[in-house]
Symmetry: C2
């Protein structure tokens, strides 16, 4: 596929190759995970299945944990796009209570689906970086600000409340659930229960009539 290159010079061509390899590797990695979970996904197995050299896999991801970190980064970006620009109620356009409920439900589904990958993305010497980035805190804070402007909330300190609600949402996956409760396969009952519980928590905080 490298014939007929346009004369853009070696750096760009190299970059395009790298990006293509990365996409291809991530796609193959996703296939392997959906077939047999995260355990079987090693650098060697990925290189073989993707029909690329081990050196290429190493250059792209650095380590086995790096593969999972890249997968997670990719998934996180997609999730953010849906929240910021996707259809309502997750995206803009629905009323604030519906958006807060939808965000929680979508986030719980995301956390459930990606928990095994998040674990695998952790290097030995990293601590508590799961669910980092604080997207939940930022987004919830924005919606609480809107709710306050609309008279649905009379809390002065929405920073603290946003932090606590974000923790209520993500914390059970990070802090309390046993690994087997974080199963990736199928719609786990616990996640459904947590999503329903999130909905009533939101309704109580926002004084829905």
């Amino acid at each position: 596929m490298n014939a007929f290159r346009l004369p853009v010079g070696p750096p760009s061509a190299e970059r395009a190759d790298a990006a293509r390899n990365r996409e291809h590797l991530l796609k193959v990695a996703r296939e392997m995970i959906s077939e047999s979970g995260v355990r079987r996904l090693t650098m060697d197995a990925l290189a073989e299945r993707a029909q690329l050299g081990k050196g290429t896999v190493f250059r792209r991801f650095g380590s086995r944990a790096g593969i999972f970190a890249a997968l997670l980064d990719d998934a996180d970006r997609t999730f953010q796009q849906q929240v910021l620009y996707g259809p309502p109620p997750l995206g803009p356009g629905a009323d604030v209570t519906a958006r807060l409920v939808a965000y929680g439900r979508a986030r719980i589904e995301f956390l459930l689906e990606h928990h095994a990958i998040e674990r695998a993305a952790l290097d030995r010497n990293q601590q508590v970086t799961i669910a980092a980035g604080g997207m939940s805190t930022t987004h919830i804070r924005m919606l609480l600000g809107q709710a306050r402007r609309e008279g649905l909330l009379h809390t002065a300190d929405i920073d603290s409340l946003a932090m606590q609600l974000a923790a209520a949402l993500e914390g059970p996956f990070v802090m309390y659930l046993a690994p087997e409760e974080n199963a990736t396969a199928g719609p786990a009952r616990r996640a459904v229960a947590l999503a329903d519980s999130w909905e009533s928590l939101v309704e109580q905080v926002l004084k829905v009539q």
Copy 2:
């Protein structure tokens, strides 16, 4: 102090010695932390200050992280005693809303005070064991059950709600606050704000008139 031992045989005497050494070492460790924080507390420094051999410190705690784990275990036990048997509203005897508020306030203070020790108690290859044990989930679940019996709460699934409220309480310290916001010295403003926010969250959940 080893003169006049009663004839209880070597194991018990040895155990009494070990317990006395452990108490003494923990007391000295607490002094060192309150004087100059967790950084200066090493196995060597502790042995020297406690006027005990390095071998004794090693036998008691196994590693530097082991010292902090023992300190935390000790503090956790004291905290639990206050919750289970101490005076109200933290201990039994106050109404359920007051107890839930008091638990949150006391727990936030505890987490703030012990955060540096919790970090230091983590070994490299441990993940997310901070705030483990689930005492908050268990205690909050018990109080929510009482609130439901008293008609203050109409949630069917108090397991999920307990998990989310426990995460709301402990999560900000574990997941979101930057290390400098977790300062051990002085009453941190963030913790005061979180405690106030916890109080109104509890009042909203329990439909306080």
